[in-house]
């Protein structure tokens, strides 16, 4: 493949070398789209490439960010080995699957790899948010790899379950549930941001969506078992679980004196969803 006649560097050490070079060479704000590579790099995996200069820097490097460049997205381009045409069945190359976003060569990876990567990201995000794990105290690290597919599926599933349980007005129930959850997530995020909290918009949306997972389970159980007492117990348990899941992220994002202000609306939304689950018959 790419390592045929060169030093067989593993892809992660390639990116380490890039990282070190970046730290040495720059604190300049210009991102380096193409610079002539330093000698050790020239021998690295460009098999039959015409020449070194087109070797672009892979794009997932933690480029030294200055605050004033963040509004302008740093641009970099990836180097699938130049001779390869972009096609789906191309060699997937050295995809170093990482928790840091797309690895360098995703432009030429097979479609199936993309699907698997997205699915595994949903699962890992779910595990991080909803189940106990060591990262919960550091929200910046925990949901670094946010995605909105998980929340989308959970919201739709909740709407469907509620709609199915309802004996009348199914459409309204679904529409109300969906709109409530979607708008609620947006408004809650704005609430945290307006309280001076440090949280990223999509990260928070993603988090609030994933925390719906216990309520999804609760709704499913309530759909199957129609007894009121069972419903109340199940909803109470899953509600507590959801709130417990959301608590660390929200509370650590805001000033400690405003924790309650940020948390209260979240709890309110989950409680209202819980009531919706109980009340539907």
């Amino acid at each position: 493949m790419s390592h045929s006649d060169t030093i067989p560097l593993h892809s992660t050490s390639q990116s380490d070398i890039d990282e070190i070079e970046n730290l040495i060479n720059t604190h300049s704000s210009s991102v380096l789209p193409a610079r002539p590579p330093s000698p050790p790099r020239a021998s690295i995996p460009i098999s039959s490439a015409p020449n070194p200069p087109p070797a672009f820097i892979p794009s997932n490097l933690p480029t030294p960010t200055n605050p004033n460049t963040t509004p302008v997205p740093p641009v970099s381009s990836a180097a699938p080995k130049p001779p390869l045409p972009p096609r789906a069945s191309g060699p997937s190359g050295n995809i170093s699957a990482s928790g840091f976003g797309s690895p360098p060569n995703t432009l030429t990876e097979p479609v199936w790899d993309t699907v698997k990567r997205d699915l595994s990201r949903i699962v890992s995000n779910l595990k991080l948010v909803v189940f106990p794990n060591p990262f919960r105290e550091d929200p910046g690290k925990a949901l670094r790899d946010w995605d909105l597919w998980g929340p989308f599926f959970f919201i739709v599933f909740l709407g469907l379950t509620l709609s199915w349980s309802a004996s009348v007005k199914k459409s309204e129930v679904f529409a109300v549930a969906f709109a409530l959850l979607a708008a609620g997530a947006v408004i809650l995020t704005l609430n945290v941001l307006l309280l001076g909290g440090h949280i990223i918009f999509f990260q928070s949306l993603s988090l609030l969506g994933y925390c719906l997972f216990p309520l999804d389970i609760g709704a499913l159980i309530c759909m199957l078992k129609d007894n009121v007492i069972v419903k109340v117990i199940v909803v109470a348990v899953t509600l507590a679980w959801s709130s417990w899941a959301a608590y660390p992220f929200i509370s650590s994002a805001v000033n400690p004196r405003r924790k309650a202000l940020a948390l209260y609306p979240v709890l309110l939304m989950y409680v209202s969803v819980g009531f919706l689950i109980i009340a539907i018959d």
Binding site: T65, P67, V75, A78, A88, T106, G140, K170
Partner: protein, 183 residues
């Protein structure tokens, strides 16, 4: 941009083009025709939004990559800030992109957004809030893709210029250096 596909070549990736168009057309068709067959809003909503979401995924991850060699995503860096990343193929591969593929890609992208906008206006006129919800979701997804890929394309062009100037500059300086060493 012209209304006709560039003549003289065939699609390089007919399957991908097909899928690119399939989900968009299916979402639009289902939404428009479903009122004739289904009475239940829930089914219309779920199926349309599902098709739109699938289309979003296909365009962002598959056809964007393969038909025009562009890709965009968002990352959160170590300082906890959100960073939008745009990725494109190197210039040689970009030059080799099939013109018909990219024509189809961009045209259908813009066309779907415009159609959803029309449908949204219709449902607004009819005061149907729930259908407006469906259209709103589909429109958001289309617009997100349009914005992402347009930014990607602009950055690719900027990079091309930067690369060109840089190559020229480095060639120039090396020429000067060799001139001096000769002297």
């Amino acid at each position: 941009m012209d209304l006709n596909p560039p003549a003289g070549e065939n699609y390089a990736h007919p399957n991908i083009c097909f899928f690119h168009v399939l989900f968009k057309a299916a979402a639009l068709a289902f939404y428009i025709l479903s009122a004739l067959f289904f009475d239940s809003f829930v089914i219309i909503f779920v199926v349309t939004v599902l098709l739109a979401a699938l289309d979003f995924w296909v365009v962002k991850n598959v056809s964007g990559r393969i038909l025009v060699g562009l890709r965009w995503w968002n990352e959160i860096n170590d300082e906890g800030e959100s960073v939008w990343k745009f990725e494109c193929l190197d210039q040689e591969s970009l030059a080799r992109i099939n013109k018909k593929d990219s024509w189809l890609f961009w045209w259908t992208l813009y066309l779907t957004a415009v159609l959803w906008l029309f449908l949204g206006i219709f449902s607004l006129i009819r005061f149907q809030a729930n259908y407006l919800l469906v259209v709103g979701v589909c429109l958001t997804l289309s617009i997100a893709n349009i914005v992402g890929f347009t930014k990607c394309r602009k950055d690719a062009k900027k990079q091309l210029q930067a690369f060109a100037t840089q190559t020229l500059a480095s060639r120039f300086s090396s020429t000067i250096q060799s001139a001096f060493t000769v002297v």
